[in-house]
Protein backbone atom coordinates (compact mmCIF):
# COMPACT_ATOMS: atom_id res chain seq x y z
CA UNK A 1 0.00 0.00 0.00
CA UNK A 2 1.07 3.54 -0.47
CA UNK A 3 0.98 5.10 2.93
CA UNK A 4 1.78 8.79 3.12
CA UNK A 5 5.06 7.97 4.87
CA UNK A 6 6.08 6.16 1.68
CA UNK A 7 4.64 8.79 -0.62
CA UNK A 8 6.79 11.34 1.19
CA UNK A 9 9.97 9.67 -0.03
CA UNK A 10 8.99 9.13 -3.67
CA UNK A 11 9.99 11.62 -6.36
CA UNK A 12 9.79 11.75 -10.13
CA UNK A 13 12.90 10.30 -11.75
CA UNK A 14 12.20 10.84 -15.43
CA UNK A 15 15.37 11.75 -17.31
CA UNK A 16 16.05 15.47 -16.91
CA UNK A 17 13.21 16.03 -14.44
CA UNK A 18 15.24 17.21 -11.48
CA UNK A 19 13.47 20.23 -10.03
CA UNK A 20 9.93 20.69 -8.73
CA UNK A 21 9.61 16.89 -9.12
CA UNK A 22 8.33 16.36 -5.58
CA UNK A 23 5.86 15.74 -3.99
CA UNK A 24 3.93 13.71 -6.53
CA UNK A 25 0.33 14.92 -6.68
CA UNK A 26 -2.46 12.50 -5.92
CA UNK A 27 -5.28 12.18 -8.41
CA UNK A 28 -8.38 10.02 -8.47
CA UNK A 29 -7.33 8.15 -5.37
CA UNK A 30 -9.22 5.50 -3.46
CA UNK A 31 -8.30 5.59 0.19
CA UNK A 32 -8.62 3.03 2.91
CA UNK A 33 -8.05 3.72 6.57
CA UNK A 34 -6.42 0.96 8.57
CA UNK A 35 -5.60 1.19 12.21
CA UNK A 36 -1.92 0.85 13.11
CA UNK A 37 -0.17 0.51 16.44
CA UNK A 38 0.64 3.95 17.90
CA UNK A 39 4.37 4.24 18.40
CA UNK A 40 5.38 7.77 19.45
CA UNK A 41 9.09 6.90 19.59
CA UNK A 42 9.08 5.85 15.95
CA UNK A 43 7.28 9.06 14.94
CA UNK A 44 9.81 11.18 16.79
CA UNK A 45 12.79 9.47 15.16
CA UNK A 46 11.21 9.51 11.73
CA UNK A 47 10.07 13.14 11.84
CA UNK A 48 13.45 14.59 10.74
CA UNK A 49 13.25 12.48 7.57
CA UNK A 50 9.86 13.94 6.61
CA UNK A 51 9.43 16.83 4.18
CA UNK A 52 6.84 18.67 6.19
CA UNK A 53 5.18 20.88 3.58
CA UNK A 54 4.95 17.98 1.16
CA UNK A 55 3.26 15.88 3.82
CA UNK A 56 0.74 18.60 4.75
CA UNK A 57 -0.12 19.24 1.09
CA UNK A 58 -0.48 15.56 0.31
CA UNK A 59 -2.59 14.94 3.40
CA UNK A 60 -4.94 17.67 2.12
CA UNK A 61 -5.18 15.88 -1.23
CA UNK A 62 -6.13 12.81 0.77
CA UNK A 63 -8.78 14.91 2.55
CA UNK A 64 -7.02 15.13 5.91
CA UNK A 65 -6.41 18.59 7.34
CA UNK A 66 -5.37 17.65 10.86
CA UNK A 67 -1.71 18.68 10.49
CA UNK A 68 -0.47 22.22 11.21
CA UNK A 69 1.15 24.14 8.33
CA UNK A 70 4.33 24.52 10.32
CA UNK A 71 5.92 21.62 12.09
CA UNK A 72 5.45 22.33 15.81
CA UNK A 73 8.37 22.40 18.19
CA UNK A 74 6.38 20.79 20.98
CA UNK A 75 5.47 17.25 20.05
CA UNK A 76 2.39 16.78 22.21
CA UNK A 77 0.20 13.73 22.18
CA UNK A 78 -2.53 15.22 20.06
CA UNK A 79 -0.05 16.22 17.37
CA UNK A 80 1.65 12.82 17.43
CA UNK A 81 -1.69 11.04 17.11
CA UNK A 82 -2.63 13.12 14.09
CA UNK A 83 0.79 12.53 12.59
CA UNK A 84 0.47 8.81 13.26
CA UNK A 85 -2.85 8.74 11.45
CA UNK A 86 -1.62 10.71 8.44
CA UNK A 87 1.68 8.85 7.99
CA UNK A 88 0.67 5.30 8.82
CA UNK A 89 -3.08 4.79 8.65
CA UNK A 90 -4.07 6.42 5.37
CA UNK A 91 -3.55 3.86 2.61
CA UNK A 92 -3.88 4.83 -1.03
CA UNK A 93 -5.15 1.75 -2.79
CA UNK A 94 -5.82 3.01 -6.30
CA UNK A 95 -5.09 6.19 -8.19
CA UNK A 96 -2.31 8.14 -9.81
CA UNK A 97 0.67 10.14 -8.62
CA UNK A 98 1.53 12.98 -10.99
CA UNK A 99 4.84 14.80 -11.20
CA UNK A 100 4.23 18.53 -10.63
CA UNK A 101 6.98 19.33 -13.13
CA UNK A 102 6.87 16.96 -16.11
CA UNK A 103 3.36 15.57 -15.45
CA UNK A 104 4.52 11.98 -15.65
CA UNK A 105 1.88 9.64 -14.23
CA UNK A 106 2.86 6.97 -11.73
CA UNK A 107 -0.07 4.60 -11.23
CA UNK A 108 -1.05 3.05 -7.93
CA UNK A 109 -2.77 -0.26 -8.38
CA UNK A 110 -3.77 -2.72 -5.70
CA UNK A 111 -1.94 -0.53 -3.21
CA UNK A 112 1.37 -0.78 -5.08
CA UNK A 113 2.95 2.36 -6.57
CA UNK A 114 4.57 1.74 -9.92
CA UNK A 115 7.72 3.85 -10.26
CA UNK A 116 9.04 2.00 -13.31
CA UNK A 117 9.80 4.08 -16.39
CA UNK A 118 10.02 3.16 -20.05
CA UNK A 119 13.57 2.78 -21.34
CA UNK A 120 13.65 6.21 -23.05
CA UNK A 121 12.52 7.98 -19.87
CA UNK A 122 15.27 6.60 -17.66
CA UNK A 123 17.91 9.11 -16.63
Amino acid sequence: MVRLITHNILACHVKGCTSNNFPLQLQGVQIELREAEFNPEFLKTFLPKIEWKALVDTAKEARDTSLPLEQPEMLDDEFLKNLHHVLLEIHIEEGTMICPNCKHNYPISNGIPNMLLAEHEVG
Binding site: I9, H13, E51, S109, N114, M115
Partner: protein, 222 residues
Protein backbone atom coordinates in the same frame (compact mmCIF):
# COMPACT_ATOMS: atom_id res chain seq x y z
CA UNK B 1 18.90 -23.99 11.55
CA UNK B 2 16.67 -21.01 12.22
CA UNK B 3 15.21 -20.95 15.70
CA UNK B 4 12.99 -17.97 15.03
CA UNK B 5 10.19 -19.33 12.84
CA UNK B 6 10.36 -18.45 9.17
CA UNK B 7 7.48 -16.22 8.06
CA UNK B 8 4.14 -17.86 7.34
CA UNK B 9 3.91 -18.20 3.57
CA UNK B 10 0.85 -20.45 3.50
CA UNK B 11 -1.15 -17.77 1.65
CA UNK B 12 1.14 -18.10 -1.39
CA UNK B 13 0.19 -20.71 -3.95
CA UNK B 14 1.86 -22.64 -6.75
CA UNK B 15 0.31 -20.05 -9.04
CA UNK B 16 2.20 -17.27 -7.26
CA UNK B 17 5.42 -19.25 -7.54
CA UNK B 18 4.99 -19.51 -11.30
CA UNK B 19 5.77 -15.80 -11.40
CA UNK B 20 7.60 -15.06 -8.17
CA UNK B 21 10.72 -16.70 -6.76
CA UNK B 22 9.83 -19.26 -4.10
CA UNK B 23 11.95 -18.94 -0.95
CA UNK B 24 14.76 -21.48 -1.06
CA UNK B 25 18.12 -22.17 0.57
CA UNK B 26 19.51 -18.76 -0.42
CA UNK B 27 16.55 -17.03 1.23
CA UNK B 28 16.90 -19.11 4.38
CA UNK B 29 20.63 -18.48 4.61
CA UNK B 30 19.90 -14.74 4.59
CA UNK B 31 17.33 -15.22 7.37
CA UNK B 32 19.92 -17.14 9.37
CA UNK B 33 22.48 -14.36 8.90
CA UNK B 34 19.97 -11.76 10.12
CA UNK B 35 19.08 -13.93 13.06
CA UNK B 36 22.75 -14.42 13.99
CA UNK B 37 23.14 -10.62 14.04
CA UNK B 38 19.90 -10.06 15.90
CA UNK B 39 21.36 -8.37 18.99
CA UNK B 40 23.44 -5.96 16.91
CA UNK B 41 20.57 -5.21 14.57
CA UNK B 42 18.25 -4.47 17.47
CA UNK B 43 20.87 -2.25 19.10
CA UNK B 44 21.07 -0.17 15.91
CA UNK B 45 17.53 1.13 16.49
CA UNK B 46 17.10 1.13 12.75
CA UNK B 47 14.65 3.67 11.35
CA UNK B 48 14.76 2.45 7.77
CA UNK B 49 15.04 -1.07 6.40
CA UNK B 50 15.18 -1.72 2.67
CA UNK B 51 15.00 -4.92 0.71
CA UNK B 52 15.75 -4.74 -2.99
CA UNK B 53 14.13 -7.49 -5.03
CA UNK B 54 11.79 -8.58 -2.26
CA UNK B 55 10.09 -11.38 -4.23
CA UNK B 56 7.77 -13.29 -1.92
CA UNK B 57 8.48 -10.83 0.90
CA UNK B 58 9.88 -13.58 3.11
CA UNK B 59 13.03 -11.68 4.13
CA UNK B 60 11.30 -8.35 4.77
CA UNK B 61 8.58 -10.03 6.82
CA UNK B 62 11.23 -11.85 8.85
CA UNK B 63 13.11 -8.59 9.47
CA UNK B 64 9.91 -6.81 10.48
CA UNK B 65 9.05 -9.64 12.82
CA UNK B 66 12.42 -9.63 14.60
CA UNK B 67 13.01 -5.86 14.64
CA UNK B 68 9.53 -4.60 15.46
CA UNK B 69 7.39 -1.59 14.65
CA UNK B 70 9.94 1.17 15.23
CA UNK B 71 11.33 0.70 11.73
CA UNK B 72 9.87 1.48 8.32
CA UNK B 73 10.17 -1.52 6.00
CA UNK B 74 10.51 -0.54 2.36
CA UNK B 75 10.78 -3.17 -0.30
CA UNK B 76 11.16 -2.90 -4.04
CA UNK B 77 10.79 -5.31 -6.92
CA UNK B 78 10.45 -4.82 -10.68
CA UNK B 79 7.91 -7.64 -10.78
CA UNK B 80 4.38 -6.42 -9.99
CA UNK B 81 3.35 -9.88 -8.81
CA UNK B 82 6.32 -9.97 -6.43
CA UNK B 83 5.27 -6.61 -4.97
CA UNK B 84 1.80 -8.03 -4.46
CA UNK B 85 3.17 -11.16 -2.77
CA UNK B 86 5.40 -9.03 -0.54
CA UNK B 87 2.44 -6.98 0.57
CA UNK B 88 0.35 -10.07 1.27
CA UNK B 89 3.20 -11.76 3.14
CA UNK B 90 3.41 -8.72 5.39
CA UNK B 91 -0.32 -8.90 6.12
CA UNK B 92 -0.20 -12.66 6.69
CA UNK B 93 2.55 -12.16 9.27
CA UNK B 94 0.93 -9.12 10.88
CA UNK B 95 3.66 -6.71 9.89
CA UNK B 96 3.45 -3.79 7.49
CA UNK B 97 5.71 -3.87 4.45
CA UNK B 98 5.64 -0.88 2.12
CA UNK B 99 6.11 -2.44 -1.26
CA UNK B 100 7.11 -0.33 -4.27
CA UNK B 101 7.36 -1.51 -7.86
CA UNK B 102 10.60 -0.16 -9.21
CA UNK B 103 14.06 -1.08 -10.36
CA UNK B 104 16.50 -0.99 -7.41
CA UNK B 105 15.63 2.31 -5.70
CA UNK B 106 14.62 4.39 -8.70
CA UNK B 107 12.09 7.01 -7.69
CA UNK B 108 13.32 7.34 -4.13
CA UNK B 109 13.84 10.94 -3.08
CA UNK B 110 17.55 11.90 -2.97
CA UNK B 111 17.26 12.92 0.67
CA UNK B 112 17.20 9.23 1.56
CA UNK B 113 20.91 9.26 0.90
CA UNK B 114 22.95 7.98 3.80
CA UNK B 115 19.86 7.16 5.82
CA UNK B 116 19.00 3.52 5.26
CA UNK B 117 20.12 1.47 8.24
CA UNK B 118 19.69 -2.07 6.99
CA UNK B 119 19.72 -3.17 3.36
CA UNK B 120 19.15 -6.71 2.11
CA UNK B 121 19.66 -7.85 -1.46
CA UNK B 122 19.26 -11.39 -2.71
CA UNK B 123 20.07 -10.69 -6.34
CA UNK B 124 19.77 -12.79 -9.47
CA UNK B 125 23.22 -14.33 -8.97
CA UNK B 126 23.22 -17.25 -11.39
CA UNK B 127 25.78 -16.81 -14.19
CA UNK B 128 24.04 -16.71 -17.58
CA UNK B 129 24.84 -15.15 -20.89
CA UNK B 130 24.62 -11.40 -20.62
CA UNK B 131 21.68 -10.85 -22.94
CA UNK B 132 19.63 -13.36 -20.97
CA UNK B 133 19.97 -11.28 -17.82
CA UNK B 134 19.04 -8.03 -19.59
CA UNK B 135 16.03 -9.62 -21.22
CA UNK B 136 14.98 -11.18 -17.91
CA UNK B 137 14.99 -7.78 -16.18
CA UNK B 138 13.02 -6.37 -19.10
CA UNK B 139 10.37 -9.05 -18.78
CA UNK B 140 9.84 -8.18 -15.10
CA UNK B 141 8.96 -11.78 -14.33
CA UNK B 142 10.43 -14.72 -12.47
CA UNK B 143 13.42 -15.08 -14.84
CA UNK B 144 14.71 -11.79 -13.44
CA UNK B 145 14.97 -13.34 -9.99
CA UNK B 146 17.83 -15.60 -10.97
CA UNK B 147 19.42 -14.75 -14.36
CA UNK B 148 22.54 -12.84 -13.39
CA UNK B 149 24.43 -12.45 -16.65
CA UNK B 150 28.20 -12.47 -16.82
CA UNK B 151 29.65 -13.97 -13.63
CA UNK B 152 26.14 -13.72 -12.20
CA UNK B 153 27.03 -10.11 -11.40
CA UNK B 154 25.27 -8.05 -14.06
CA UNK B 155 22.38 -6.93 -11.86
CA UNK B 156 24.30 -7.01 -8.57
CA UNK B 157 26.98 -4.68 -9.92
CA UNK B 158 24.44 -1.95 -10.65
CA UNK B 159 23.30 -1.98 -7.04
CA UNK B 160 26.83 -2.25 -5.63
CA UNK B 161 27.46 1.19 -7.09
CA UNK B 162 24.41 2.62 -5.27
CA UNK B 163 24.77 1.10 -1.83
CA UNK B 164 27.29 3.56 -0.40
CA UNK B 165 24.97 6.46 -1.19
CA UNK B 166 22.07 4.88 0.63
CA UNK B 167 23.59 3.30 3.70
CA UNK B 168 23.56 5.27 6.94
CA UNK B 169 26.99 5.76 8.57
CA UNK B 170 26.41 2.82 10.92
CA UNK B 171 24.30 0.89 8.45
CA UNK B 172 24.66 -2.67 7.31
CA UNK B 173 24.18 -4.21 3.90
CA UNK B 174 23.59 -7.94 3.49
CA UNK B 175 24.21 -9.48 0.09
CA UNK B 176 23.56 -13.03 -1.06
CA UNK B 177 26.26 -14.34 -3.38
CA UNK B 178 27.56 -17.60 -4.83
CA UNK B 179 31.13 -18.72 -5.37
CA UNK B 180 30.96 -17.95 -9.11
CA UNK B 181 30.34 -14.27 -8.29
CA UNK B 182 33.96 -14.01 -7.10
CA UNK B 183 33.25 -12.75 -3.61
CA UNK B 184 36.87 -11.74 -2.80
CA UNK B 185 36.83 -9.44 -5.82
CA UNK B 186 33.52 -7.87 -4.72
CA UNK B 187 34.92 -7.28 -1.25
CA UNK B 188 38.12 -5.74 -2.57
CA UNK B 189 36.22 -3.47 -4.96
CA UNK B 190 33.74 -2.23 -2.35
CA UNK B 191 36.60 -1.42 0.01
CA UNK B 192 38.63 0.41 -2.61
CA UNK B 193 35.80 2.33 -4.23
CA UNK B 194 33.49 3.03 -1.31
CA UNK B 195 35.37 2.33 1.94
CA UNK B 196 32.95 -0.45 2.70
CA UNK B 197 34.43 -3.21 4.83
CA UNK B 198 32.90 -6.62 4.50
CA UNK B 199 32.85 -10.07 5.92
CA UNK B 200 31.47 -13.37 4.74
CA UNK B 201 29.23 -14.06 7.72
CA UNK B 202 27.66 -17.33 6.64
CA UNK B 203 28.21 -19.94 3.92
CA UNK B 204 26.39 -23.11 3.00
CA UNK B 205 26.33 -25.59 0.18
CA UNK B 206 22.89 -26.15 -1.33
CA UNK B 207 22.91 -28.60 -4.20
CA UNK B 208 25.17 -27.19 -6.87
CA UNK B 209 25.35 -23.76 -5.29
CA UNK B 210 27.88 -22.65 -2.72
CA UNK B 211 26.02 -19.78 -1.09
CA UNK B 212 27.38 -16.99 1.09
CA UNK B 213 26.05 -13.96 2.88
CA UNK B 214 28.38 -10.99 2.69
CA UNK B 215 27.86 -8.19 5.20
CA UNK B 216 29.14 -4.70 4.41
CA UNK B 217 29.59 -1.70 6.67
CA UNK B 218 31.54 1.53 6.45
CA UNK B 219 35.13 1.26 7.58
CA UNK B 220 34.69 4.20 9.95
CA UNK B 221 31.96 2.57 12.02
CA UNK B 222 33.00 0.59 15.05
Amino acid sequence: MTTIPTPDLSHLSAQDYEHVYEPAEDTFLLLDALEADLDDLKAMNATLFLEVGSGSGCVSAFAAHILGSSTLYLSTDINARACNCTRRTGAQNKVTLDSIQTSFINGFHPRLKRSVDIICFNPPYVPTISVEASEAQGLRGIEGSWAGGSGGMQVTNVFLDMVHELLSPNGRFYLVAVKENNIPEIQERMKTLYQLDSKVVLSRRAGREYLSIVRFEFATST
